[in-house]
């Protein structure tokens, strides 16, 4: 058992492997590509090629594990302030099309992929990924070891980082990452807030949707059920909401720390019992805070299309789309009148709450899917049942 080929002894060199920097930059030149960089505050720097806009951009670096649905991810306003790393390596394979957009434009600060498809092969695909990113002014990089970044974030928690195109000094990039403000200090909702209300006409119940950066999928789901949907900028006053005489209220998703929206929470609190209310994602966190519960930041959040959520009432599990860094603190729900209805099977965190008596409830995941499984679209029906019960309108 002592026989070891000399080959094995030669292994040291390869162990310390990391590609010679010259090889790499030469390679980029061969490909007529600009370099692209991602640098984290903790010193991790990766270099790839630029596939998006020129320049430099900073934010919180997060990863998502969904294998399809990059156009929806790109246009999900909840990613405002963030640089998104896609764990699935091949992106852009079916192009980008306005029909897959979840909002008017991308709000994320950067996009990181392993390989960006240089062509689009889909009847609906209009632009290649790179064309779209350039057109929208998003800094984006490809040809990097995205799995390494994912594992890094998973182990060390989410990090601030900068993404840059062109020639840069790595140390400077790290320094810049360190000087970025904490995401929790940023008023991201303001960035994504719509200027005007949007009306989706329909013959049924009138539903007000509070938009702190919602995915239009939420509004579309309601409209598809015949509702008259009025999407209101998230910071409107209670009076403005009530003036519309809605039959129900949906508080949608959005970016950032829910603590920064405590003003909204305070307003919503006054509506408990006056309207059936349904919260989604950030909306769920705001409702919890309105009830007096606390929220906290998860180590690296939940982002992807494969999270199992157990519904306590039925013992049934649904596979859900998730995109959040914050969660409701279960202990702090005691005495608020709210109970936990849904729970994440991976880490046991709260995925849904409901008031014991009032028609106010919410879920942390995205029942509107887009991207992701459509297993939870029945929740919109349930909400409309609340509306029917309360207001007698369909």
């Amino acid at each position: 058992m002592e026989a070891r080929g000399d080959l094995c002894a030669r292994r040291e060199k390869t162990r310390a492997f990391s590609l010679h920097p010259e090889v790499y930059s030469d390679t980029l030149q061969c490909m007529n590509m600009q370099p692209g960089w991602l640098a984290l505050e903790d010193g991790l720097v990766v270099r790839g090629i630029s596939i998006g806009a020129e320049g430099i951009s900073g934010g919180e670096v997060v990863f998502t594990t969904g294998m399809t649905g990059y156009p929806e991810v790109l246009t999900d306003p909840s990613y405002a302030g963030q640089i998104v790393v896609m764990s699935f390596p091949m992106m852009g394979t079916y192009g980008v099309s306005p029909q897959w957009a979840e909002s008017r434009r991308p709000f994320l600060r950067g996009f990181v992929v392993r390989e960006a498809s240089p062509y689009t092969s889909h009847w609906a695909g209009r632009l290649t990924l790179s064309e779209y990113l350039r057109g929208q002014g998003i800094v984006a990089i490809a040809e990097v070891d995205t799995r390494r970044i994912v594992r890094h974030l998973r182990t060390h928690g989410l990090r601030r980082g900068v993404i840059a195109a062109g020639e840069w000094d790595p140390d400077e990039l790290v320094a810049r990452a360190r000087s970025l403000p904490d995401l929790a200090e940023e008023d991201l909702v303001v960035e994504v807030l719509p200027e005007e209300p949007i009306l989706l006409p329909g013959p049924g119940a009138r539903i007000a949707v509070l938009d702190c950066g919602i995915k239009m999928g939420i509004a579309r789901e309601l409209a598809a059920r015949g509702c008259e949907v009025i999407v209101l900028p998230g910071l409107v006053e209670v009076e403005e909401i009530l003036a519309l005489h809605p039959h129900g209220l949906v508080v949608g998703n959005g970016p950032g720390d829910p603590r920064r929206l405590d003003a909204v929470a305070q307003r919503l609190r006054t509506l408990f019992g006056r309207l059936p209310i349904f919260g989604v994602c950030l909306g769920h966190q705001i409702l919890a805070r309105a009830a007096g519960a606390k929220t906290f930041k998860l180590p690296f959040g939940h982002r992807g299309s494969n999270h199992p959520v157990l519904e306590h009432a039925t013992g049934r599990v649904r596979i859900t789309t998730q995109n959040h860094s914050y969660a409701v603190d279960e202990g702090s729900l005691v005495g608020t009148g709210f109970v936990v209805t849904h729970r994440n099977l991976h880490d046991g965190t709260v995925e849904g709450i409901r008031h014991q008596h009032l028609p106010v409830w919410s879920v942390q995941f995205h029942p509107e899917a887009r991207p992701g499984p459509r297993d939870s679209r029945d929740l919109f029906d349930r909400f409309l049942e609340d509306v029917v019960q309360r207001a007698g309108v369909r």
């Binding site: 090889v23 061969c30 294998m67 092969s121 009847w123 799995r147 594992r151 991976h346």
Partner: protein, 1064 residues
């Protein structure tokens, strides 16, 4: 809902022999499920006719029956064992059909056996095409317009009613699309429908509007009794609708579907499994319009399948294990994901791309139709994992070990463009390579996409590869090398493009630090820490395979299942791994076959899912620094790597590379035999037709001709005419003048085979196998009896002597497989293989002896004396006799030769085992699917040289009351010998088979491989009508003997197998 306490004993039905459409995947799923059941304290009873399976090992099940998979035998097992439950969804279509039959016969009800998991009602709804359609219409899922036809006329009328549209014809209740096909136009539809109706056991075909050219997408769904559903994986077929998923190149996950499309189909799949009431695993196939979101449901398989095995390996998610737990009553979320230790109720996220390429048997069937369609023709497949499509595709391409070299195919490179376009337009096994070749010659990707129906995305990816090839051709820089490696090009391909040796490319690459890193298949795209040892290589930054200081050995697997290299080698690989682990050595497996147990995530200490090439294995060796590599278990694939690996400095465990080389090189081997004074067939090399003539003159006819180049599937042949020898030699030399043709004297006589284990001094002798057919029929295609009943003691002594001489001379350390022919009372050696052979599982099971374990210990350095087998140690004769019967898939390969010959053609095997030989023979042939007694008359049609021999056989059949039919020449012989028979002209004989009058065909061919000959057509007709087709006199005689024994009421009770004694 936790597990049901009332289920204490469960019968699991295996899938039987390996055939096209039903390969090793069921051993993988079955053994994984059995372990999951045992884990729960359930007593597992297993029945399977295939001895070369891990599931029939005592470690896997508590009680094992190697018995024919017929309702009668399984009913007897149920009676003897009285389990509470039956799990039919692990044994493929065979398992389902058996369960359905047992239910119909009332056996299940009478014995109070409950079908666990997916209920039979759901299985019916999924399997019966008409019920399925009705169910789909009820829940509003779109299915293509179709009718069920029982006559060809109905099919024609239907196609006319669609405006003469193309239709697809599919028989009910068959596997691998047997007897199906696409057809347009009155005549074609009539013919296809007629064929389908014939192959369907219920005489029905589904005639359906064709959606050939649409995307074909599969989903693997798991559902529990609470209606929790997950989609483990989706897969996209690169070859669109019209090519069977088993014959398609497949990627996972889908790459050209938008999220909307993916979610739409996933949702539809859920609704379908719900409507059926599946509790366990289910495969759902869809056709998706490439130009809209329209789709159709094509079919479901409410069981574990080839696709579920692929999905398991592609995602790391153990589908069979979870399905088994669901069958015991667990809810999905109560089951643990063994990889992340989290819940099994989630959907795997991949952060890599998986490509599967099928492996077809056309190298063995030159005469067969190479086109592929709705009927599956491949015998196996390879899978590769890469971070991008190009990387995974190229890894898969170098894993298939066909005549291709990566994406380049020497024969296609010489072909004219029109011939290439033809291969693109009409799907065939070479299509991928034809597309690549045309791209090299400048064809437009759009044009190729239009001609093939393959999504442009995949063609563009191929074009990128071709562009990279061009760059590699003109530029040897490190940068280009880096880019090429990252795209997936193998060193061998780069070397070919740059006209330099592979070693030089490797040296340059290593000098520049361009070596792969290993990433984990963790089911969750890195989101959670994972405890699994399942890796693949890629050219990136971070290496996740951590160093493990414990000593290890690398076991090379055998790659894709193909004719000649089947599941037997996976059996040996898995046992080698076990014995390494028992010996305290870390076992590292390299293999690329997704259907196998050896690539299950918990079989080895580390699994590298990688191509079996010098380059890829060297990388693993560099990473693991093993004490050595074991090459004796993975068939020829592993053995062929021994020399190049050794040359690169890798220690090979067991028999030395020099000895391996001697055994592999016929010339060197004959030289050694001459030195040792061991007789072998006389022969020589023909470098010219003239030399061939001289050889024939010297050796006399017939001769065995071995062209070193396989000519359109015509490998080794026995030739009776001098002109034919000359023709063959001329043809072979025309292909490659540098490679001489071997011509040996043909020695007719009894063929014997031994799988011994040697350590260079001592010899362990399990016993001798005897072939029913005389030498001249490949050992893999002969019926083989163990222990040999008819070997003279002197012959046996001589066999042992020879083995011992070879053991010493070759300093064997491990397996020594030798094939002998006894000719004129002299024992000749035909060949020796210094590796585990196909028959190792067969004799291990008959003996109940851990042969692979012993051999592995010897390879690790123990002597047989240490292990308790000193000197020439003979195992005590087993109390039972085993009969190995080959199983062919010829009915699935249109135009393929059926007759036995020196080139192996069988895809699998079964074993009959019993206390006496006739009973074992009976079980063996019944398990192989022969109808005994025959369902009609015996049709005799034998070559002139066999006429005399057929007389006693005919006489016996006649005495048993079987009516005899014979073609003119044979009839004349029989009549003059006083055996009455009805003479038929050839066309009448063919008609008699078609009408179902014939129950067995005895046809010894005059010359094979010629589809124009009547004999060939009779044989094809027989296999297509599923009647036994016996092509040697020995086989026919055995058939007669079994029939006679059956008369005498031999006891035919199933008997449980006994386990092996623990290793000393």
């Amino acid at each position: 809902m936790p597990r049901r306490p009332d289920i204490r004993k469960v019968l699991v039905i295996g899938s039987g022999p390996i055939t096209i459409g039903q390969a090793a995947e069921f051993d993988y799923s079955g053994s994984q499920a059995c372990r999951a059941l045992s884990e729960e304290g359930v007593e597992v009873v297993l029945v399977n006719s295939n001895p070369a399976t891990i599931m029939t090992d005592p470690e896997v099940a508590d009680r094992i029956y190697i018995e024919p998979l017929t309702p009668e035998f399984v009913a007897r097992v149920l009676e003897a064992e009285r389990p509470q439950g039956l799990l039919p969804t692990l044994g493929g279509q065979t398992g389902l059909n058996l369960a359905a039959a047992l239910d119909r016969m009332g056996v299940l009800a009478a014995l109070g056996v409950e079908v666990l998991g997916t209920p039979l009602s759901a299985i019916h709804k999924g399997e019966d095409r008409e019920l399925f359609r009705a169910e789909m219409q009820r829940i509003g899922q779109p299915v293509p317009e179709s009718i069920v036809a029982s006559t060809p006329e109905e099919a024609v009328d239907f196609s006319l009613s669609l405006g003469d549209a193309e239709v697809v014809i599919r028989p009910a209740f068959t596997l691998g699309g047997t007897g199906g096909g696409l057809a347009r136009g009155r005549e074609a539809v009539w013919e296809a429908a007629e064929r389908g109706i014939r192959t369907s056991p219920i005489g029905q075909v589904l005639v359906e509007r064709s959606v050939a050219g649409w995307k074909e997408i599969e989903y693997e769904i798991l559902r529990d009794a609470d209606d929790n559903c997950i989609a483990v994986c989706n897969m996209e077929n690169v070859d669109p609708m019209g090519v069977h998923t088993g014959d398609s190149i497949v990627v996972a996950p889908s790459l050209t579907l938008s999220d909307r499309e993916h979610q739409m189909l996933r949702r539809a799949a859920f609704e379908i499994v719900r409507a059926l009431g599946v509790e366990g695993g289910c495969n759902v196939q869809f056709a998706l319009d490439p130009n809209s979101e329209r789709y159709y449901v094509i079919e479901v398989n409410p069981r574990l399948s080839r696709s579920s095995a692929l999905a398991s390996k592609a995602t790391g998610y153990p589908i069979a294990r979870v399905a088994a737990k669901i069958a015991l009553g667990y809810r999905l979320w109560e089951i643990q994901n063994s990889i992340t230790r989290g819940t099994a109720c989630f959907e795997p996220a991949l952060d890599y791309v998986v490509v599967k390429i099928p492996r077809w048997p056309f190298d063995k069937f030159g005469e067969a139709d190479r086109r592929i369609g709705t009927q599956m023709k491949s015998t196996g497949e390879v899978m590769a994992i890469g971070r991008t499509f190009t990387e995974a595709l190229l890894k898969a391409a170098r894993s298939v070990e066909s005549t291709n070299r990566g994406l380049w195919h020497p024969a296609l490179a010489r072909m004219d463009e029109e011939a290439l376009w033809e291969r693109v337009r009409t799907p065939c096994d070479e299509r991928l390579w034809a597309v690549a070749e045309l791209l090299r010659r400048g064809a437009g990707p759009e044009e190729l996409a239009a001609a093939s129906g393959i999504d442009p995305f995949f063609i563009w990816e191929l074009e990128r590869l071709v562009r990279m090839e061009r760059r590699v051709e003109r530029d040897r820089s490190t940068q280009t090398l880096w880019m090429a490696k990252r795209m997936g090009l193998g060193d061998a391909e780069i070397a070919r493009l740059q006209h330099r040796p592979e070693e030089e490319v490797r040296a340059q690459r290593e000098e520049a630090g361009i070596v792969p890193v290993y990433k984990l298949v963790d089911t969750c795209a890195g989101e959670f820490p994972a405890a699994t040892p399942y890796y693949y290589s890629t050219y990136e930054e971070e290496d996740e395979a951590e160093e493990d200081p414990r000593p290890c050995a690398v076991v090379l697997g055998s790659g894709p299942i193909r004719i000649g290299q089947g599941i037997e080698f996976d059996y040996s690989t898995v046992h080698a791994v076990r014995s390494l682990r028992e010996a305290g050595v870390r076992a590292v497996v390299v293999n690329n076959n997704p259907e196998t147990v050896s690539t299950d995530f918990d079989t080895s200490d580390r699994l590298y899912f990688e191509p079996l090439t010098v380059e890829d294995v060297l990388h693993v060796v560099r990473k693991e620094r093993p004490v050595g590599v074991l090459v004796q278990f993975g068939g020829q694939t592993a053995l062929n790597l021994a020399v190049p690996l050794a040359r690169a400095g890798v220690p090979i465990l067991g028999t030395s590379v020099e000895s391996l080389d001697i055994s592999e090189d016929r010339r060197k081997f004959y030289l050694l035999l001459d030195q040792l004074g061991i007789p072998h067939p006389d022969g020589g090399m023909a470098h010219s037709v003239e030399e061939a003539k001289q050889l024939v003159r010297r050796l006399g006819l017939p001769v065995v001709v071995r062209p070193s180049y396989v000519l359109g599937g015509r490998g080794m042949r026995i030739v009776y005419e001098a002109e034919e020898v000359e023709e063959l030699v001329a043809a072979a030399l025309a292909v490659d003048p540098a490679r001489p043709v071997l011509v040996d004297a043909y020695l007719r006589g009894q063929e014997l085979e031994v799988d011994a284990i040697g350590d260079g001094v001592n010899l362990l002798l399990p016993g001798i196998m005897e072939h029913v057919e005389a030498a001249g029929v490949h050992s893999g295609d002969s019926i083989s009896i163990f222990p040999a009943p008819n070997v003279l003691p002197e012959v046996a002594e001589r066999v042992v002597e020879i083995l011992q001489e070879l053991n010493r001379a070759l300093r064997v350390q491990g397996f020594l497989n030798v094939q002998f022919v006894v000719h004129d009372y002299r024992v000749y050696v035909l060949e020796a293989n210094l590796r585990a052979s196909r028959t190792v599982p067969f004799i291990s099971k008959v003996l109940g002896a851990p042969l692979v374990q012993i051999a592995t210990r010897v390879m690790l350095g123990s002597s047989l004396t240490d292990l308790g087998y000193p000197g020439v140690y003979r195992f005590p004769a087993p109390r039972r006799v085993g009969v190995k019967v080959p199983v062919f898939s010829s009915e699935k390969l249109m135009g393929a030769e059926v007759a036995l010959g020196p080139e192996m053609r069988s895809t699998g095997e079964v074993m009959g085992i019993d206390r006496n030989l006739p009973a074992a023979l009976y079980k063996g042939i019944v398990a192989a699917g022969w109808t005994v007694p025959p369902s009609g008359a015996a049709l005799l049609s034998v070559a002139r040289r066999a006429r005399r021999g057929v007389v006693p056989i005919a006489r016996r059949l006649q005495a048993l009351g079987i009516p005899l039919l014979a073609t003119p020449g044979t009839a004349a012989t029989l009549q003059s010998a006083g055996v009455p028979c009805r003479p038929l002209l050839y066309p009448e004989a063919l008609e008699a088979i078609r009408r179902g009058e014939v129950g067995v065909l005895i046809n010894v061919p005059t010359a094979g491989h010629d589809p124009r000959r009547w004999g060939f057509r009779l044989r094809r007709a027989a296999v297509e009508h599923r009647i036994p087709c016996l092509t040697t006199l020995e086989t026919a005689q055995l058939y007669g003997e079994v029939l006679a024994a059956l008369r005498e009421e031999v006891l035919l009770a199933p008997q449980p197998m006994t386990g092996p004694a623990p290793l000393a």
